[in-house]
Amino acid sequence: MKIKSSKSKRSAIRRAFLLIATAVALVSIPPLASVAIGGMNEYDVKAAYLANLGRFVIWPTKGKNDPAPSFPICILGVDPFGRTLDRAVDGQQIDGGPVIARRISMPEQAAGCRVLFIGESESDSLDAALAALSHVPILTVSDMPRFIERGGMVGFVVEDSRVRFQVNLDAVKAAGFALSSQLIKLATLVKTNGASGASGG
């Protein structure tokens, strides 16, 4: 292995990248085309956001008292991030615990998750999934259209070639925790008390 030149190493990386790109192209069926933002892939940005969202959540005090061995970020359904999320959370700590990425296929598996990204593949069964999670302190995130209208908490949208997000404070409140005002002010749409309005901008 040591004899291998850097050239062969680089070609290996390129091969892996092509493989991932093909996989992403295959799994993400666009209504939303993948856009590049600031030289970064859309899902790179979303992964970074996902990794940081947990920092702007005021978690229930009950959870604080418990020693938090880890801070799991779960992905339900088809994973659009691939290794990006794993890289984004690598070495990160929230609430004193290391952030880890976990893939699940059933909403029932979400117990212990702090943040749950619901892939677009779950669009059809979303209502049931949200209903199952409605009284668990899990921050639900998705980039499927009309996510917050359907009861989700944070929905990623792309506006002006930028990844932005909308928040549903009712859902957050119902789940028993709160979002930092710092986060809310960045949201392009805030749904609260059944009403919704544009914020920040």
């Binding site: 956001y49 940081n52 920092r55 932005r164 997000f165 002010k185 960045l186 920040g200």
Partner: protein, 501 residues
């Protein structure tokens, strides 16, 4: 005013007051200003630091979620601080993220640099205060906020301070001026009055002037009192001096009167004695002549010789008496001044001596003499005496020379008669002009011893003076003037006035 030497004490006091006041005020103002400047500057830094802290914590989420507009909204809140010219947020990698500036024009000129990404520091540049602060979120460095504030507030404060200082300074100078006018009253006024009095006394020499007492500080009243005492002493001394002077004058007058009467008595005595001596002398001389004429044949040789000696002695005595009478007459006689040609007088006198001059071939040199206002009869006697002496004392000289001329002696024209005869010892000069004072033996040079005394009296009666210069065996020179020397001998025109050219 500028030249301190000519300032009056009152002005000087005022100036000192003003200077001290201004110096103290300026120092105080400078101290206050420095303190205030430092305090205010630190306040500015603290205020900017707080604002940057707010900006930093409010823009953390914007940085994390890549939302420059939100960050710009946060920065726009700085608009309420009018001194903040602009602000910028940089990402952790140092890329510009969001910005704000008060004026779009200034935006381009503002240079926002992060000296050290992540460092928290402030610095002054181009009259601006720039503060940079790292933005952290949950202990993680995510960017840098830089705020730039202008110092116009500090400058405005400085201007206000200067204005206040100027106003206070003017007010204090006014107050100092007012107060120093009181000081003038209590300190300067008595001194000014003293100076005025001293000047008046110096000018008028009136030591009876007194300074009326004024209420003044101790030192000044001491000074005034000493001055007053000094004046009293000067006046007392003046009076003593005047009294002494008057006493002296009276005494001198008294003595002069005594002397004059004694002198007159002496002269009268001398005149009458001389006069009275003539009658018996004439008898002696007359009978001696009769004896010689009538009884010469009956007398032997020895008797005839004695008779000759008697006749000679009587003749000598007669001359002496004549001279003495003459001397006495000169003392009493009024001068008959008239313009006189001294050359003529000298020539007439020389004519009387012509026989001996020619016989001995005396070289007489007569220089031109001036025309002088004098008594010609008396001056002729002077020439007669001096020339006769000159002829007499050159008797043993092989080549006798007599010079008559005029010299200028220290601005004083003096007539002289000089010979190269027997001369005299200069140290006996004072004896020359005394009555019966003779420097030579009668056997060598006959004479009565009255001639030079007569000459001196005549010269002195004219107001002149006479002196002699001589050396034993080398001749003598007699100088005389006929007028008192003009005051300050350099006064030539006055001198010439006495000499009619």
């Amino acid at each position: 005013m500028v030249n301190g030497r000519h300032m009056s004490i009152a002005t000087r006091l005022t100036w000192i007051n003003m200077l001290v006041t201004s110096a103290a005020l300026l120092l105080a103002c400078a101290g206050f200003w420095t303190y205030d400047y430092v305090t205010f500057r630190n306040g500015c830094i603290r205020s900017l630091s707080i604002q940057s802290q707010i900006v930093a914590s409010n823009s953390a989420s914007a940085l994390l979620f890549d939302d420059p507009r939100s960050a710009e909204n946060t920065l726009a809140a700085l608009r309420v601080s009018t001194n903040i010219m602009g602000a910028r947020i940089f990402t952790a990698s140092g890329q510009p993220f969001a910005g704000y500036s008060r004026s779009h024009l200034q935006n381009s000129s503002l240079v926002y640099t992060v000296r050290e990404p992540g460092a928290e520091q402030h610095w002054f540049k181009d009259g601006r205060l720039i503060l940079s602060r790292k933005i952290t979120f949950q202990g993680k460095f995510i960017g840098t906020a830089v705020i730039c504030s202008d110092l116009s507030q500090i400058n405005a404060r400085l201007r206000a301070y200067m204005l206040i200082c100027a106003i206070i300074l003017l007010a204090c100078l006014g107050a100092a001026l007012l107060l120093s006018s009181f000081a003038r009253g209590s300190i300067a006024a008595p001194i000014v009055k003293l100076a005025g009095t001293a000047r008046k006394i110096a000018r008028e020499r009136d030591y009876t002037v007194r300074i009326e007492p004024v209420s003044a500080t101790e030192e000044i009243s001491d000074l005034l009192e000493s001055f007053r005492e000094m004046l009293v002493q000067i006046q007392a001394r003046d009076e003593e001096l005047l009294q002494a002077h008057n006493e002296l004058e009276a005494r001198v007058e008294e003595r002069t009167a005594q002397l004059r009467s004694a002198n007159q008595g002496l002269e009268a005595f001398s005149y009458s004695v001389s006069h009275d001596l003539r009658a018996p002398l004439r008898q002696i001389s007359g009978f001696a002549n009769l004896l010689t004429d009538d009884y010469s044949a009956q007398l032997d040789t020895g008797a005839r010789r004695y008779l000759g000696l008697i006749q000679k002695g009587a003749a000598n005595m007669g001359r002496l008496i004549d001279d003495l009478i003459n001397l006495g007459r000169i003392g009493r006689q009024e001068l008959m001044r008239k313009p006189t040609n001294l050359n003529e007088l000298a020539e007439i006198t020389l004519r009387d001596l012509r026989a001996e001059i020619e016989a001995r071939a005396i070289d007489v040199r007569l220089a031109p003499l001036p025309l002088v206002e004098c008594d010609p009869g008396l001056i002729k006697q002077v020439f007669a005496n001096l020339l006769a002496n000159a002829v007499k004392y050159t008797r043993y000289q092989e080549r006798p020379v007599i010079e008559v001329g005029m010299v200028e002696q220290g601005g004083e024209p003096a007539i002289f008669v000089r010979d190269n005869g027997a001369g005299f010892d200069q140290k006996y000069e004072h004896k020359l002009f005394g009555v019966f004072q003779r420097l030579h033996r009668a056997e060598d040079f006959e004479g009565t011893g009255v001639g030079l005394a007569t000459v001196r009296r005549i010269v002195e009666n004219h107001g002149g003076r006479i002196w002699a210069k001589g050396e034993t065996g080398k001749g003598a020179a007699f100088f005389f003037t006929l007028r008192p020397p003009a005051r300050g001998q350099q006064n030539q025109p006055a001198m010439k006035g006495t000499i009619i050219q």
